[in-house]
């Protein structure tokens, strides 16, 4: 797999920093950043740039008593008990709890919701809801298990989170991302040394527009 310097994806990082990236791709990038220091560094630089731009921005005129009203909102909130963040009750599941931070919560939520879907012997799939129109799924692949051929209208991005799989294009380990077009008939096989968790985002034939289309160039290795 060719090495692609993170700088080639500057547009991805600016889109992420500015909140323009589809939540599915944001999750892919955030999860990959937990596995690839270079990606994490680029994301941190991007967000620092945005923060500096905020500092530099021309202050807009606020309405009279804006500050007073803000304090009143805070007082009201504190008086109400301050616990407006209803603690998210998530189910317990040891393997899913080990997933990197940005992935853990949607995975546990899905586990407590619709739950695992069994695809084939040794392959399970969890549909994640991250507020995207794209399909986001967490695959659990046992050693030696083969992911069944799945047709999809568009492109599919698969990030290995733990363990690994191999297909005709090569071997993928944590942090690597495989990109497959609609014509690809790849059937990845889980590596022998452990359970493989992989995060897959599919467009199901929807056309990528704008910044989402950029992710096509994002190669993990």
């Amino acid at each position: 797999m060719p090495t692609s310097p993170a700088s080639a994806f500057g547009e991805l990082y600016s889109a992420y920093a500015a909140g323009r990236l589809d939540p599915a791709f944001a999750l892919l990038l955030e999860t990959q950043s937990m596995l690839r220091p270079q990606v994490r560094q680029a994301m941190a630089v991007g967000e620092t740039v945005s923060g500096l731009m905020l500092e530099r921005d021309q202050p807009a005129a606020m309405s009279a008593n804006a500050g007073v009203r803000a304090l009143a909102m805070i007082d009201e909130m504190e008086a109400a008990g301050g616990a407006l963040d209803a603690a998210l009750r998530l189910p317990e599941e040891p393997e899913l709890s080990d997933l990197p931070e940005p992935l853990r919560e949607p995975a546990l939520r899905a586990y407590g919701g619709k739950g695992w879907q069994n695809l084939a012997s040794g392959i399970r799939r969890l549909g994640l809801d991250v507020g995207s129109a794209l399909e986001v799924e967490l695959y659990r692949i046992q050693p030696g298990a083969r992911v069944p051929r799945h047709t999809h209208g568009g492109q599919e991005f698969t990030l290995v989170v733990s363990g690994g799989f191999s297909d005709e294009t090569g071997s993928y380990g944590p942090g690597d991302m495989a990109i497959n077009g609609p014509e690809d008939t790849h059937q990845p096989v889980g590596d022998a040394d452990g359970i493989c968790y992989a995060l897959a985002v599919r467009d199901s034939g929807l056309r990528f527009t704008g910044v989402m289309g950029l992710v096509q160039r994002l190669l993990g290795k």
């Binding site: 700088s7 547009e11 939540p23 963040d85």
Partner: protein, 197 residues
């Protein structure tokens, strides 16, 4: 207060803002909140106006963000980011959140990236203090044309094509200017710079 050369805040003020955050988190200090409000709310409003919000919406969002800052203050870690980086992320995530609620009200997700990662593997830990330092230093040295495009991409959230159109520049020029600026801020040496030396 502001560094007039770059427009960014001085180290002393940055430290002061971090101290304010600590007092909000530690003792719910309202004076500290007001200090941060006075600095950030007008800038947040300006940011929202740029993104197309009306005057009322922009102010409402700025208030919303600052109240969220109060609520989540104990998640701020001065070792990981400057207050402006953190508040920007709150603003960005609140916007995404509010947009999402319009379409998916049942999703009340926590914003995971506001919390520092629970376990950062030591060998993979990036040096965030260094990042803040390098980005500030290098930003001050960027030529105005690169800075302008960087702001358009990272702050206004325009895609490269949108920037090319807005600034009437070839797409290739936009891409390479932003790439060079971003590389510089990341501390990556530009191969072209090396060969030109």
């Amino acid at each position: 207060m502001n560094d007039t050369a770059t427009g960014t805040i001085s180290p002393a003020v940055r430290e002061y803002h971090a101290d304010c955050m600590a007092r909000i988190a530690g003792s719910k200090c309202r004076e500290s909140f007001s200090e941060l409000f006075d600095f950030y709310a007008p800038r947040l409003k300006s940011y929202m106006l740029r993104l197309g919000a009306s005057d009322i919406e922009a102010e409402d969002l700025a208030q919303d963000v600052m109240v969220t800052v109060w609520r989540k203050a104990e998640q701020y870690d001065r070792k990981l980011a400057s207050v402006s980086t953190w508040i920007f992320r709150v603003a960005r995530n609140r916007r995404i959140d509010r947009l999402r609620r319009v379409t998916r009200p049942e999703l009340d997700a926590e914003e995971p990236m506001l919390r520092p990662p629970e376990i950062e593997k030591p060998e993979d830990t990036i040096n965030r203090v260094q990042i803040e330092q390098t980005v500030r230093e290098e930003l001050a040295k960027l030529p105005p044309d690169q800075l302008q495009l960087l702001q358009a991409a990272f702050y206004d959230g325009l895609s490269h094509s949108e920037i090319a159109e807005a600034y009437d520049l070839p797409l290739g020029t936009v891409k390479s200017r932003i790439r060079r600026a971003f590389d510089r801020l990341r501390g990556v040496l530009d191969n072209e710079d090396i060969s030109d030396a």
